[in-house]
Amino acid sequence: MSWHDPARALEPESDTALRNELRGLLGMSRTPETSYFEAEPTPELIQLADELRREARRRNLTARKKSSWMLLAAALPFALVTAGMGAWGVSQKHKADQLAATVAHEEAEIRRMATALQPPPAAPAAARPLPVQAPTAKGQPAQTLLIGKAAPRNKAKELVIPVERSKEANPNAPQSVKSN
Protein backbone atom coordinates (compact mmCIF):
# COMPACT_ATOMS: atom_id res chain seq x y z
CA MET A 1 0.00 0.00 0.00
CA SER A 2 1.26 3.42 -0.85
CA TRP A 3 0.80 6.51 1.24
CA HIS A 4 0.78 8.57 -1.90
CA ASP A 5 -2.74 9.86 -2.29
CA PRO A 6 -3.70 10.59 -5.90
CA ALA A 7 -6.80 12.50 -4.82
CA ARG A 8 -4.59 15.06 -3.10
CA ALA A 9 -1.99 15.19 -5.85
CA LEU A 10 -4.51 15.51 -8.69
CA GLU A 11 -6.53 18.23 -7.05
CA PRO A 12 -7.84 20.74 -9.63
CA GLU A 13 -6.55 24.28 -9.51
CA SER A 14 -10.04 25.62 -8.83
CA ASP A 15 -10.10 23.72 -5.53
CA THR A 16 -6.69 25.06 -4.58
CA ALA A 17 -7.86 28.58 -5.40
CA LEU A 18 -11.00 28.06 -3.35
CA ARG A 19 -8.92 26.87 -0.41
CA ASN A 20 -6.69 29.94 -0.63
CA GLU A 21 -9.72 32.20 -0.82
CA LEU A 22 -11.23 30.59 2.27
CA ARG A 23 -7.92 30.94 4.08
CA GLY A 24 -8.06 34.62 3.32
CA LEU A 25 -11.63 34.92 4.56
CA LEU A 26 -10.69 33.17 7.77
CA GLY A 27 -7.69 35.42 8.27
CA MET A 28 -5.15 32.64 7.86
CA SER A 29 -2.03 32.87 5.76
CA ARG A 30 -2.65 31.97 2.12
CA THR A 31 -0.22 29.06 2.14
CA PRO A 32 0.12 26.58 5.00
CA GLU A 33 3.23 26.96 7.11
CA THR A 34 4.22 23.32 6.66
CA SER A 35 3.59 20.99 3.77
CA TYR A 36 1.22 18.11 4.36
CA PHE A 37 3.81 15.36 4.36
CA GLU A 38 6.70 17.33 5.81
CA ALA A 39 7.47 16.70 9.45
CA GLU A 40 10.52 15.63 11.37
CA PRO A 41 10.00 12.30 13.07
CA THR A 42 11.18 12.43 16.65
CA PRO A 43 12.65 9.31 18.33
CA GLU A 44 9.48 8.92 20.42
CA LEU A 45 7.28 9.02 17.32
CA ILE A 46 9.52 6.54 15.52
CA GLN A 47 9.32 4.16 18.47
CA LEU A 48 5.55 4.55 18.63
CA ALA A 49 5.21 3.94 14.89
CA ASP A 50 7.24 0.74 15.13
CA GLU A 51 5.19 -0.46 18.07
CA LEU A 52 1.95 0.14 16.19
CA ARG A 53 3.33 -1.69 13.19
CA ARG A 54 4.22 -4.69 15.37
CA GLU A 55 0.79 -4.57 17.01
CA ALA A 56 -0.92 -4.57 13.62
CA ARG A 57 1.14 -7.55 12.52
CA ARG A 58 0.45 -9.39 15.76
CA ARG A 59 -3.28 -8.74 15.50
CA ASN A 60 -3.26 -9.81 11.89
CA LEU A 61 -1.72 -13.16 12.76
CA THR A 62 -3.75 -13.83 15.89
CA ALA A 63 -6.99 -12.63 14.39
CA ARG A 64 -6.64 -15.04 11.48
CA LYS A 65 -5.92 -18.03 13.71
CA LYS A 66 -8.62 -17.10 16.11
CA SER A 67 -11.18 -16.70 13.35
CA SER A 68 -10.50 -20.15 11.84
CA TRP A 69 -10.59 -21.87 15.24
CA MET A 70 -13.71 -19.98 16.20
CA LEU A 71 -15.33 -20.93 12.92
CA LEU A 72 -14.50 -24.59 13.46
CA ALA A 73 -15.68 -24.53 17.06
CA ALA A 74 -18.91 -22.84 16.07
CA ALA A 75 -19.57 -25.18 13.16
CA LEU A 76 -18.82 -28.44 15.00
CA PRO A 77 -21.99 -28.62 17.15
CA PHE A 78 -24.15 -27.80 14.15
CA ALA A 79 -22.42 -30.48 12.09
CA LEU A 80 -22.87 -33.07 14.84
CA VAL A 81 -26.53 -32.23 15.33
CA THR A 82 -27.16 -32.35 11.58
CA ALA A 83 -25.41 -35.70 11.20
CA GLY A 84 -27.28 -37.15 14.20
CA MET A 85 -30.63 -35.95 12.92
CA GLY A 86 -29.86 -37.35 9.49
CA ALA A 87 -28.96 -40.79 10.84
CA TRP A 88 -32.03 -40.86 13.05
CA GLY A 89 -34.23 -39.82 10.13
CA VAL A 90 -32.82 -42.56 7.90
CA SER A 91 -33.42 -45.22 10.58
CA GLN A 92 -36.97 -43.95 11.13
CA LYS A 93 -37.65 -44.09 7.40
CA HIS A 94 -36.37 -47.66 7.28
CA LYS A 95 -38.63 -48.67 10.18
CA ALA A 96 -41.64 -46.98 8.61
CA ASP A 97 -41.06 -48.79 5.32
CA GLN A 98 -40.85 -52.15 7.12
CA LEU A 99 -44.06 -51.46 9.06
CA ALA A 100 -45.90 -50.42 5.90
CA ALA A 101 -44.82 -53.63 4.14
CA THR A 102 -45.99 -55.77 7.09
CA VAL A 103 -49.36 -54.02 7.24
CA ALA A 104 -49.89 -54.42 3.50
CA HIS A 105 -49.05 -58.13 3.72
CA GLU A 106 -51.45 -58.67 6.63
CA GLU A 107 -54.25 -56.83 4.84
CA ALA A 108 -53.76 -59.01 1.77
CA GLU A 109 -53.86 -62.12 3.96
CA ILE A 110 -57.09 -60.99 5.67
CA ARG A 111 -58.67 -60.24 2.30
CA ARG A 112 -57.70 -63.66 1.03
CA MET A 113 -59.15 -65.34 4.13
CA ALA A 114 -62.38 -63.34 3.89
CA THR A 115 -62.78 -64.36 0.27
CA ALA A 116 -62.28 -68.01 1.19
CA LEU A 117 -64.85 -67.94 4.03
CA GLN A 118 -67.55 -66.09 2.07
CA PRO A 119 -70.76 -68.25 1.53
CA PRO A 120 -71.77 -69.14 -2.03
CA PRO A 121 -74.28 -66.81 -3.69
CA ALA A 122 -78.00 -67.61 -3.07
CA ALA A 123 -80.24 -69.16 -5.73
CA PRO A 124 -81.90 -66.73 -8.23
CA ALA A 125 -85.37 -68.00 -7.34
CA ALA A 126 -85.07 -66.73 -3.80
CA ALA A 127 -84.75 -63.21 -5.10
CA ARG A 128 -88.02 -63.48 -6.98
CA PRO A 129 -90.97 -61.75 -5.22
CA LEU A 130 -93.45 -64.05 -3.55
CA PRO A 131 -97.15 -63.51 -4.08
CA VAL A 132 -98.93 -63.10 -0.77
CA GLN A 133 -102.65 -63.45 -0.27
CA ALA A 134 -103.90 -60.33 1.35
CA PRO A 135 -106.66 -60.62 3.89
CA THR A 136 -109.95 -59.84 2.26
CA ALA A 137 -113.01 -58.27 3.63
CA LYS A 138 -116.42 -59.81 3.42
CA GLY A 139 -117.90 -59.75 -0.10
CA GLN A 140 -114.73 -58.44 -1.74
CA PRO A 141 -112.58 -60.31 -4.20
CA ALA A 142 -109.23 -61.45 -2.98
CA GLN A 143 -106.36 -59.02 -3.66
CA THR A 144 -102.93 -60.14 -4.46
CA LEU A 145 -100.05 -58.38 -2.69
CA LEU A 146 -96.67 -58.50 -4.20
CA ILE A 147 -93.78 -58.60 -1.75
CA GLY A 148 -90.30 -58.03 -2.92
CA LYS A 149 -88.28 -55.65 -4.98
CA ALA A 150 -90.39 -55.95 -8.11
CA ALA A 151 -93.58 -54.79 -6.39
CA PRO A 152 -93.02 -51.03 -6.30
CA ARG A 153 -91.74 -51.01 -9.86
CA ASN A 154 -95.05 -52.31 -11.21
CA LYS A 155 -97.33 -49.36 -10.73
CA ALA A 156 -100.33 -51.20 -12.08
CA LYS A 157 -100.26 -53.63 -9.21
CA GLU A 158 -101.03 -51.55 -6.18
CA LEU A 159 -101.97 -52.75 -2.79
CA VAL A 160 -105.61 -52.00 -2.25
CA ILE A 161 -107.06 -52.78 1.15
CA PRO A 162 -110.85 -52.79 1.07
CA VAL A 163 -112.39 -50.98 3.97
CA GLU A 164 -116.08 -51.32 4.75
CA ARG A 165 -117.29 -48.19 6.35
CA SER A 166 -119.74 -48.87 9.09
CA LYS A 167 -122.61 -46.51 9.28
CA GLU A 168 -122.88 -46.84 13.01
CA ALA A 169 -119.39 -45.67 13.72
CA ASN A 170 -119.12 -42.54 11.67
CA PRO A 171 -116.87 -40.16 13.52
CA ASN A 172 -117.96 -37.20 11.41
CA ALA A 173 -121.68 -37.71 12.01
CA PRO A 174 -123.26 -35.55 14.68
CA GLN A 175 -124.15 -37.45 17.81
CA SER A 176 -127.37 -36.88 19.55
CA VAL A 177 -127.65 -37.27 23.25
CA LYS A 178 -130.98 -38.24 24.57
CA SER A 179 -132.19 -36.31 27.49
CA ASN A 180 -134.27 -38.05 30.11
Partner: protein
Protein backbone atom coordinates in the same frame (compact mmCIF):
# COMPACT_ATOMS: atom_id res chain seq x y z
CA UNK B 1 8.66 16.49 -2.34
CA UNK B 2 9.06 13.40 -4.50
CA UNK B 3 6.00 11.20 -5.01
CA UNK B 4 6.08 8.23 -2.67
CA UNK B 5 6.72 4.83 -4.17
CA UNK B 6 3.87 2.36 -4.35
CA UNK B 7 4.70 -0.50 -2.02
CA UNK B 8 2.77 -3.58 -1.04
CA UNK B 9 1.88 -4.38 2.56
CA UNK B 10 3.50 -3.75 5.03
CA UNK B 11 3.49 -0.07 4.24
CA UNK B 12 6.68 0.56 2.40
CA UNK B 13 10.00 0.91 4.11
CA UNK B 14 10.42 2.04 7.69
CA UNK B 15 11.76 5.45 6.76
CA UNK B 16 8.75 6.30 4.65
CA UNK B 17 6.36 5.05 7.29
CA UNK B 18 8.09 7.06 10.03
CA UNK B 19 7.83 10.26 8.00
CA UNK B 20 4.16 9.72 7.27
CA UNK B 21 3.41 8.77 10.85
CA UNK B 22 5.21 11.82 12.20
CA UNK B 23 3.16 14.14 10.00
CA UNK B 24 -0.22 12.46 10.33
CA UNK B 25 -0.27 11.34 13.94
CA UNK B 26 -0.41 14.82 15.57
CA UNK B 27 -3.11 15.86 13.09
CA UNK B 28 -5.19 12.81 13.87
CA UNK B 29 -4.83 13.35 17.60
CA UNK B 30 -5.99 16.92 17.15
CA UNK B 31 -8.89 15.75 14.97
CA UNK B 32 -9.98 13.20 17.59
CA UNK B 33 -9.77 15.88 20.28
CA UNK B 34 -12.11 18.07 18.23
CA UNK B 35 -14.73 15.35 18.52
CA UNK B 36 -14.34 15.35 22.29
CA UNK B 37 -12.51 12.04 22.55
CA UNK B 38 -11.33 11.31 26.06
CA UNK B 39 -8.22 9.51 24.82
CA UNK B 40 -7.44 11.07 21.42
CA UNK B 41 -3.92 9.57 21.30
CA UNK B 42 -5.34 6.07 21.72
CA UNK B 43 -7.86 6.67 18.98
CA UNK B 44 -5.23 7.93 16.54
CA UNK B 45 -3.00 4.93 17.29
CA UNK B 46 -5.92 2.54 16.92
CA UNK B 47 -6.72 4.07 13.53
CA UNK B 48 -3.16 3.36 12.35
CA UNK B 49 -3.33 -0.22 13.61
CA UNK B 50 -6.68 -0.81 11.92
CA UNK B 51 -5.32 0.51 8.63
CA UNK B 52 -2.17 -1.62 8.80
CA UNK B 53 -4.18 -4.66 9.87
CA UNK B 54 -6.19 -4.65 6.65
CA UNK B 55 -5.58 -7.41 4.14
CA UNK B 56 -6.62 -5.35 1.15
CA UNK B 57 -5.08 -1.92 0.54
CA UNK B 58 -7.21 1.20 0.61
CA UNK B 59 -7.24 3.76 -2.17
CA UNK B 60 -6.84 6.81 0.04
CA UNK B 61 -5.05 5.91 3.28
CA UNK B 62 -5.15 9.44 4.65
CA UNK B 63 -8.89 9.70 4.19
CA UNK B 64 -9.27 6.23 5.67
CA UNK B 65 -7.35 7.28 8.78
CA UNK B 66 -9.38 10.44 9.24
CA UNK B 67 -12.63 8.52 8.75
CA UNK B 68 -11.58 5.87 11.27
CA UNK B 69 -10.62 8.50 13.84
CA UNK B 70 -13.95 10.24 13.34
CA UNK B 71 -15.90 6.99 13.75
CA UNK B 72 -13.92 5.88 16.80
CA UNK B 73 -14.31 9.29 18.45
CA UNK B 74 -18.06 9.31 17.89
CA UNK B 75 -18.32 5.71 19.10
CA UNK B 76 -16.44 6.59 22.25
CA UNK B 77 -19.02 9.27 22.94
CA UNK B 78 -21.97 7.08 21.99
CA UNK B 79 -23.16 6.37 25.57
CA UNK B 80 -23.49 10.10 26.06
CA UNK B 81 -25.68 10.44 22.98
CA UNK B 82 -28.55 8.91 24.92
CA UNK B 83 -28.37 11.90 27.22
CA UNK B 84 -29.62 14.19 24.42
CA UNK B 85 -26.30 15.73 23.49
CA UNK B 86 -26.69 17.99 20.49
CA UNK B 87 -24.58 17.88 17.35
CA UNK B 88 -23.07 21.15 18.45
CA UNK B 89 -21.78 19.51 21.60
CA UNK B 90 -20.36 16.58 19.67
CA UNK B 91 -18.58 18.61 17.04
CA UNK B 92 -17.49 21.34 19.39
CA UNK B 93 -17.05 19.60 22.70
CA UNK B 94 -15.56 20.96 25.88
CA UNK B 95 -12.03 20.13 24.91
CA UNK B 96 -12.56 21.19 21.31
CA UNK B 97 -11.37 24.79 21.44
CA UNK B 98 -8.16 23.71 23.14
CA UNK B 99 -7.44 21.55 20.14
CA UNK B 100 -7.60 24.55 17.84
CA UNK B 101 -5.44 26.82 19.94
CA UNK B 102 -2.20 25.38 18.66
CA UNK B 103 -3.25 25.63 15.05
CA UNK B 104 -5.50 28.65 14.74
CA UNK B 105 -5.51 32.19 16.00
CA UNK B 106 -8.28 33.58 18.14
CA UNK B 107 -9.74 35.47 15.17
CA UNK B 108 -9.95 32.38 12.98
CA UNK B 109 -11.51 30.38 15.78
CA UNK B 110 -14.17 33.04 16.29
CA UNK B 111 -15.04 33.02 12.60
CA UNK B 112 -15.22 29.24 12.52
CA UNK B 113 -17.41 29.20 15.59
CA UNK B 114 -20.00 31.38 13.87
CA UNK B 115 -20.57 28.64 11.28
CA UNK B 116 -22.95 25.75 11.79
CA UNK B 117 -21.28 22.49 12.92
CA UNK B 118 -21.89 20.84 9.54
CA UNK B 119 -20.20 23.61 7.56
CA UNK B 120 -17.46 24.02 10.16
CA UNK B 121 -16.52 20.35 9.97
CA UNK B 122 -16.22 20.42 6.18
CA UNK B 123 -14.37 23.73 6.18
CA UNK B 124 -11.96 22.48 8.83
CA UNK B 125 -11.05 19.41 6.77
CA UNK B 126 -10.68 21.46 3.59
CA UNK B 127 -8.77 24.45 4.87
CA UNK B 128 -7.02 23.49 8.08
CA UNK B 129 -6.37 19.80 7.43
CA UNK B 130 -5.62 20.59 3.79
CA UNK B 131 -7.56 17.61 2.46
CA UNK B 132 -9.05 17.35 -1.02
CA UNK B 133 -12.77 17.30 -1.72
CA UNK B 134 -12.55 13.64 -2.70
CA UNK B 135 -10.90 12.77 0.62
CA UNK B 136 -13.46 14.75 2.59
CA UNK B 137 -16.29 12.97 0.83
CA UNK B 138 -14.75 9.65 1.88
CA UNK B 139 -14.20 10.75 5.47
CA UNK B 140 -17.72 12.10 5.94
CA UNK B 141 -19.27 9.43 3.70
CA UNK B 142 -21.14 11.98 1.60
CA UNK B 143 -21.03 12.77 -2.15
CA UNK B 144 -18.38 15.13 -3.48
CA UNK B 145 -21.10 17.50 -4.69
CA UNK B 146 -22.39 17.79 -1.11
CA UNK B 147 -18.89 18.63 0.12
CA UNK B 148 -18.57 21.34 -2.51
CA UNK B 149 -21.99 22.74 -1.61
CA UNK B 150 -21.10 22.88 2.05
CA UNK B 151 -17.80 24.60 1.34
CA UNK B 152 -19.45 27.22 -0.87
CA UNK B 153 -22.17 27.86 1.69
CA UNK B 154 -19.52 28.20 4.40
CA UNK B 155 -17.75 30.68 2.16
CA UNK B 156 -20.98 32.67 1.70
CA UNK B 157 -21.51 32.68 5.48
CA UNK B 158 -17.98 33.95 6.03
CA UNK B 159 -18.48 36.69 3.45
CA UNK B 160 -21.73 37.81 5.10
CA UNK B 161 -20.02 37.73 8.45
CA UNK B 162 -17.20 39.93 7.19
CA UNK B 163 -19.62 42.28 5.37
CA UNK B 164 -21.63 42.87 8.50
CA UNK B 165 -18.50 43.64 10.48
CA UNK B 166 -16.81 45.60 7.68
CA UNK B 167 -13.94 43.16 7.54
CA UNK B 168 -14.24 42.50 3.84
CA UNK B 169 -13.26 46.08 3.04
CA UNK B 170 -10.19 45.71 5.17
CA UNK B 171 -9.27 42.50 3.34
CA UNK B 172 -9.91 44.13 -0.02
Amino acid sequence: MEPLKTQPIPFGDSHEFHDIFASLYPRLVSYARRYGATYPEDIAQEAFVILMQRDSPVEHPTAYLYGTVRTLSLTERRPLKNQSISLEAVVEPGKGPDADEDLLSQEVRERMKALSPTFRETLWLFVVEDLSIRQISEILDIPEATVKTRIHRAKAHLRNQLNSSGGLHVLA
